[in-house]
Point group: C2
């Protein structure tokens, strides 16, 4: 039998998906499983967006422009005006989700063995894109005690080598929910300027900020127009993950012309998703007001609930819809599997994501788990209750 590639063997398995078979088994045994493991919101996609799909009236489903439909890219520039970001349609390359856009960015600016610095914990799929592009991730630890604030400038400087080409941040952050401040963003500006690096800013959760705090985009930073690559998406903003529409933005013409070559090689992003995305820009403000209100209530339920568990600690983040919490456990991988295989409380259990999968440094995150608060408040309260009961009897409890 012919061999499989080395890269194929190396591709990391998703830390979230590897628990799926155990969840399926638990369901077969009649357990109710609360899914707090995946960033698939239950929020409804805006009607105005879905209607564009239902009203699709072309006779032939044609390829679009490789960079995305011009009408979509122009509509996106209108959206950016509403968040005070000035971009033009030719600075945008639409991808099949932010996933593809980020892969284009990696491939356009980094050669195999080059390095990208990412504060950890970080979104686990970044590892897959890095492996796919043949590059290495250099993690810098951010600390749960600070709520996962940006590590200090010195930590970045210590990590920079002659292979370092970029810093990647996710803001607001998946998995921590942390919202970087203007000052933190300015630290990043100073860093990329000083060391001539790219700053890749994944801002797909831009709208999800709480407690009156506002988002400070990497596109606001002065003097680094050639360095910034923005990654964005409709997936979370309009709860349309399956449409698979994301994009990258750069004011650096060489980055755009290079990414376009990768885009041309795969012909075009999906047409229907683009039709939905273009219409989604018309989503009324009330939609977001209601969604934000709902997420604040959900976050509060989770954060308060966990902090009421003895030995547990959960920061109170200001963005996205995730928290990383510390639990009194020996090993989050074992614990999350145990919850599905060996535990139940009133025929219920919870599926969590072990935080270890969001760290690159071996051994980190062993007593942490990520929760996506994508369920209704009542279900989240039940989930936290289940978690509290589980911690009372978990054999690997540490204190």
């Amino acid at each position: 039998m012919p061999k499989i590639s080395f890269k194929g063997q190396q591709m990391p398995e998703s830390p979230i998906r590897k628990l799926v078979p155990f969840a399926d088994e638990a369901k077969k045994r009649g357990r109710k499983v609360y899914h707090l493991n995946i960033g698939q919101p239950d929020i409804e996609t805006p009607e105005v967006a879905l209607n564009a799909i239902r009203n699709y009236n072309h006779k032939v489903v044609e390829y679009s422009h490789s960079a995305g439909m011009l009408s979509l890219r122009e509509r996106l520039t209108d959206y950016y005006k509403t968040v005070n970001i000035d971009v033009t349609s030719d600075q945008i390359i639409v991808g099949t989700g932010a996933s593809e856009a980020l892969l284009f960015a990696f491939q356009s600016i980094m050669d195999p063995e080059d390095e990208v610095i990412i504060p950890e914990p970080f979104y686990a799929n970044y590892n897959g894109f890095a492996t796919n592009a043949g590059i290495n991730v250099t993690p810098i630890v951010s600390d749960i005690e600070t709520g996962f604030a940006l590590p200090p400038m010195e930590a970045f400087e210590k990590a920079i080598t002659d292979k370092t080409k970029a810093i990647l941040i996710c803001n607001p952050n998946n998995p921590t929910g942390y919202l970087y401040s203007k000052e933190e963003m300015e630290t990043l500006r100073d860093l990329v300027k000083k060391y001539d690096l790219y700053l890749i800013a994944d801002e797909v959760y831009r709208e999800f900020t709480y407690d009156g705090k506002t988002h400070y985009s990497a596109m606001y930073l002065d003097g680094i127009d050639d360095n910034v690559i923005l990654i964005d998406s409709i997936s979370k903003r309009y709860s349309a993950c399956g449409a698979r529409i994301g994009w990258l933005i750069s004011r650096n013409k060489t980055v755009i012309s290079t990414a376009l070559k990768f885009a041309q090689a795969r012909l075009s992003p999906p047409t229907f998703g683009q039709v939905l995305a273009e219409a989604a820009v018309d989503t009324p403000d009330e939609y977001f007001v209601a969604v934000i209100k709902e997420y604040i209530a959900r976050r509060n339920a989770v954060v308060e609930g966990i902090n009421n568990i003895e030995g547990a600690f959960c920061p109170n983040p200001s963005g996205a819809f995730y928290v990383v919490a510390r639990l009194p456990i020996d090993d989050s991988d074992k614990f999350c599997r145990w919850l599905l295989e060996d535990f139940e409380f009133e025929y219920q259990t919870v599926m969590l994501a072990p935080a270890s999968g969001f760290y690159s440094t071996p051994g980190k995150g062993k007593d942490e788990i990520r929760i996506s608060y994508v369920l209704k408040v009542e279900d989240l309260k039940s989930s936290v209750k289940v978690l509290a009961e589980a911690l009372k009897v978990y054999p690997g409890r540490t204190n």
Copy 2:
């Protein structure tokens, strides 16, 4: 300014798209341009498929399974029964177009610097996928005099090195339209068996066979279940290029589990395209009967028309909707650009694809062009007339 990657610089520009600016200029000057350059059919997408999109009634556009919706994969196994191919849903990985499926295949089975043998001329985007995967294409010349039949076994054997991992064919062929016979497919079987290679068969034009000839799939070949990777798509079959749904099929479990890791890294293929694809399997047979009849008339118009031009030669292929023709010209790149920049006949001109872009061997295809017969017969007749007039006055005419 931070540097661009080496791969980014290397990514080939599409030989078809690079002429687009000249076509745009010609249109601005009021010329009618017949587009014979791109495989975007004008055939309508089946109603049954479009209706599935119009009737989409989910409230949340969710991620699907990374390998594609199970309901789609099951429906595809039904489709394959109709063409006597026996596959199961877990042997299928749905991609964002055949483009992504082929990239998954390349990445799963080949390491950087490994080689894939492809008879040339071949679909130009294969170069982009190869560059993207970091692998090398070893071309073997097929000859216009034989209608671009499969090169003899010895030509493959001469090209095989210890880096060779796979043979890739497109059947029926883009750009030549050639339909490989059962005997030719058996030659490929013997080769991959003898040298322990993968056989990647791009069969996206399976339905488009003419003159009573039938398609012989790589999946029919005995004894090489672990070697064959089928690439397929709805793009051409149902004229739904923009839906971006293709897939790979393999009976080799390691290939599937490896490709799935690449698929998981990008979460899921587009939902709407999958909805359309699932419904498209219900397309009535009459649709194909009408489409095939139309394409035969178009092919005949092009082939006869070109063969009536003095000094020109066009084989009469039995599949797909392309021909590669030989013209009495010095340089097809120059000629195709000249048609757009400097020529008109009754305010009309044609946009062709220079065949040089479909060859990997330098210098090959300089007197050949590819025509996609994706226009109505009347327009094709006008196009051939324009071409004939152009050849009367082209300064680089060779005989």
